[in-house]
């Protein structure tokens, strides 16, 4: 029985807790991608860099706050800096839309043109970020490191295995729940939110109903920028901030959006968790779990790992491929905001 509990604790410690945190980050990222897709109808390749840009601003403000001696008690100071980061990312997105995307909207350009343009925007952002903060790793996490340390858990329960919960993991989950709650309240309960859904659902009819497309597009960018900054900051707090990582996050985020059905916010969130947990399940070494569960003589020699952690990004690709082959519209059948 103890063995079984120990095995469960390992799974909770290495899959459940990190998966919830990582899943929340992906879900918020995918929500942003899905919003842009629903309203502007293209897959925004610059989304990863938008995340990096917002996070960079948060880091800079955090450093200033830390320099001024401000702190947020046990919570990371970055949370205080978040609003400023969001504001900066919003400005960036709106300026980009005004200078770049609006022209193609007026031209009614095909979606593939938007794709190329967004790749161009991605590289401009990328250059901007490296220019300001450089390509190196930046650490900006402060406050209390753990809510529960592995040793405390062991003492508390008397089990061999520990369960550690980092503050950043709890902060991630908490922030994500609040953010998603606000987004859904906005989309389903407010007039403006409903008009966004209407626009995404049927653009022509929305125009006939007197919904102002420019306003819908503007709000979509504001929400996207906010979601991107929150997702990027949470990821940066949880792991660390490296500009190129956000480019690599693009693939799992797209995969999450497509798995859930592009344009479907609920699907994006589900997709985020599907991708996160698959990644962890597939790359986790089950050796210790199996050792607890089977008689000693049968204990495995290898790591009992389906795929090496080097390939964690390949997992999202495989899921993407399976979805494209089996159900290209996604689990929740896409395109409705």
């Amino acid at each position: 029985m103890t063995d079984f509990l120990n095995a469960l604790v390992i799974l909770a410690n290495f899959i459940l807790v990190p998966g919830l945190a990582y899943g929340s980050q992906l879900a918020l990222g995918a929500l942003g991608v899905t919003l842009v897709y629903g309203v502007l109808r293209f897959s925004n390749f610059a989304h990863g860099e938008t995340m990096a840009f917002g996070t960079m601003l948060v880091i800079l403000v955090t450093w200033m706050l830390q320099g001024a001696g401000a702190s947020f008690g046990p919570l990371p100071t970055a949370l205080l800096a978040l609003p400023i980061g969001i504001a900066g990312a919003v400005v960036l997105c709106l300026v980009t839309d005004r200078l770049v995307y609006r022209y193609y909207r007026r031209q009614r350009a095909s979606s593939v043109i938007y794709l190329i343009v967004s790749v161009g925007v991605m590289f401009v952002y990328n250059g901007l970020i490296r220019f300001v903060i450089g390509p190196r790793d930046q650490n900006f996490t402060d406050g209390q490191r753990f809510i529960m340390k592995a040793r405390e858990f062991k003492n508390m329960t008397g089990l061999n295995e520990g369960l550690a919960i980092k503050t950043t993991q709890a902060v991630t989950l908490g922030t994500a729940v609040v953010t998603v709650g606000i987004v859904f309240w906005f989309l389903n309960k407010t007039r403006t939110g409903k008009s966004m859904r209407a626009f995404s659902d049927n653009e022509d009819l929305a125009l006939l109903s007197g919904i102002n497309p420019d306003r819908v597009v503007m709000i979509a960018w504001i929400m996207t920028a906010a979601l991107a900054t929150i997702a990027g900051t949470l990821y940066g707090l949880d792991k660390s901030f490296k500009p190129f990582v956000y480019l690599q996050l693009l693939l799992p985020i797209f995969a999450a959006a497509i798995v859930g059905g592009v344009g479907n916010p609920l699907g994006a969130i589900a997709g985020g968790f599907v991708i996160a947990f698959s990644e962890l399940f597939v790359t986790f070494a089950y050796k210790r779990v199996v050792t607890y569960m089977v008689p000693e003589s049968m204990a495995p020699e290898g790591l009992v790992q389906i795929l090496s952690t080097d390939y964690k990004f390949a997992v999202s690709f495989m899921i993407l491929v399976i979805v494209l082959l089996v159900k290209p519209t996604g689990i929740f059948s896409g395109k409705s905001l």
Binding site: F45, G120, V262, D310, L320
Partner: protein, 437 residues
């Protein structure tokens, strides 16, 4: 092939630029530039076949070029006999198991169409069993291979054939990957192809970095055999020494230039062949049909054209050309370094070349390849000079000055991004626009 005076002028200007580098910097630098320009031009032709002919957006050029590089390495290096003895059988068995698994998985999927939800479980189980067999065969083999003379080998090696064959093999590798990606994502929304190519290219790079038994991973494979003479041999040959002195050149300079000229000759042949074939294809009924599909997919489909299979064709062809160029690049480098494959350098830059050159026009793609590569390389000294001059008023050790000079390299990203956006917006037809026939 007719060319307007303007286009000839543009190419002449490019030649002039390269020559001025020869005069100002050195002929060695100029020829290095030229060789890379040619390779870039071939890659740009590959992308142009996909984008210009058919409107397919491939964000994974990097991966296809890397497969070409892999081919160059695998074809040219001699096999490591000890490693083959240690784990060759296991690896071959693993590959066979992989093929059998894929076929069995597909068979299971087709045969269970009427089973409802259990269809997923049956297929999943078949694949899982296959995967377990694969891993049990390949894992011990891999660790055995990686133990063989780890500092020098630790991998299976290649086939020890002349490296020039790899140019073809690289094309075949890239075509194979393109077939898989295309089969999965073509026929769906255009975004899906873009995302799928982004994914496959990242995975290819990860494999090249981490599958040490195949590629030595980040330990690189250096000293690939060349298709042209070595400078050292030339320098030592009496005939060459007397020839060089006769020409009034230093022996070392002459050998280095001669080697680069040999490469340039070989590369030019490939460029001309690819360019010729692309032009012929573009003018053929096939090319006309491709463009008809690009301009109006719905109408073409209504006329009974199988749009998806045409797209697959063109996607494979374009990727193969990129693979050829990738193999040539590794040949020129003389070593296989998986970490050098950066999306910026191998995907984005190529796209800028095509868009700036003129999408849909092969000559445009070639010119774009030359121009963009030239400025990409020359931008570094220019950027550095610019930043130093701009900040010369500041104190020597001022943090802003140091930061600006240090960040000059990142300006290239920004500039290239801006160039792409500006050209797309204000001159979407590029330097040499597509000819409407």
């Amino acid at each position: 092939m007719t060319m307007s005076g303007r286009n000839i002028g543009l190419f002449a200007l490019m030649a002039l630029l390269l020559m001025s580098v020869g005069f100002i910097q050195s002929w060695d630098v100029s020829l290095t530039l030229l060789n890379l320009c040619i390779i870039s031009a071939i890659m740009a032709l590959g992308v142009n076949i996909q984008w210009g002919y058919a409107g397919l957006f491939n964000v994974g050029t990097m991966g296809f070029a890397a497969l070409g590089g892999l081919a160059a390495m695998l074809v040219s290096v001699p096999p490591v006999t000890a490693a083959w003895e240690a784990g060759g059988a296991g690896v071959v068995g693993g590959i066979v198991a992989a093929v059998v698994t894929v076929i069995a998985g597909m068979y299971a999927w087709r045969k269970t169409a009427d089973m409802g939800r259990s269809r997923y479980w049956v297929t999943g189980l078949v694949v899982l069993v296959g995967y377990v067999v694969l891993r049990s065969l390949i894992d011990p083999a891999v660790s055995a291979i990686e133990k063989v003379d780890a500092t020098k080998a630790g991998y299976l090696g290649g086939f020890g054939l002349p490296i020039i064959f790899s140019w073809l093999v690289g094309g075949v590798f890239a075509a194979g990957a393109a077939w898989v990606v295309g089969r999965i994502s073509l026929g769906l929304r255009s975004d899906y192809l873009a995302i799928a190519t982004l994914g496959i290219s990242e995975i290819i790079i990860y494999m090249l970095k981490f599958e040490d038994w195949l590629t030595r991973g980040v330990k690189n494979v250096a000293g690939l055999p060349r298709p042209v003479p070595y400078e050292v041999d030339l320098n030592e040959s009496a005939g060459f020494q007397s020839w060089a002195t006769g020409m009034g050149l230093e022996v070392e300079t002459a050998s280095s230039i001669l080697v680069k000229l040999c490469y340039a000759g070989l590369f030019s042949i490939v460029l001309l062949v690819v360019l010729y074939l692309s032009e012929v294809a573009l003018r053929s009924p096939w090319g006309r049909m491709m463009r008809a599909i690009r301009d109006n997919e719905t109408a073409a489909a209504a006329m009974g054209k199988n749009v998806t299979s045409r797209h697959l064709q063109v996607f494979i062809l374009g990727s193969a050309v990129i693979g050829v160029a990738g193999a040539m690049l590794t040949t020129l480098d003389g070593q296989f370094t998986p970490t050098t494959y950066q999306p910026l350098r191998f995907t984005f830059l190529i796209w800028v070349m095509v868009i700036v050159g003129g999408s849909g026009n092969n000559w445009g793609a070639v010119l774009g390849g030359f121009v963009i590569w030239f400025f990409w390389i020359e931008a570094e000294p220019i950027g550095h000079w610019l930043m130093s001059t701009l900040t010369s008023g500041m104190e020597e050790g001022h943090w802003l000055r140091l930061h600006l000079i240090e960040s000059a390299a990142h300006m290239r990203l920004l500039t290239m991004g801006l160039v792409l956006l500006l050209v797309l917006r204000f001159a979407p037809r590029g330097l040499i626009p597509e000819v409407k026939r």
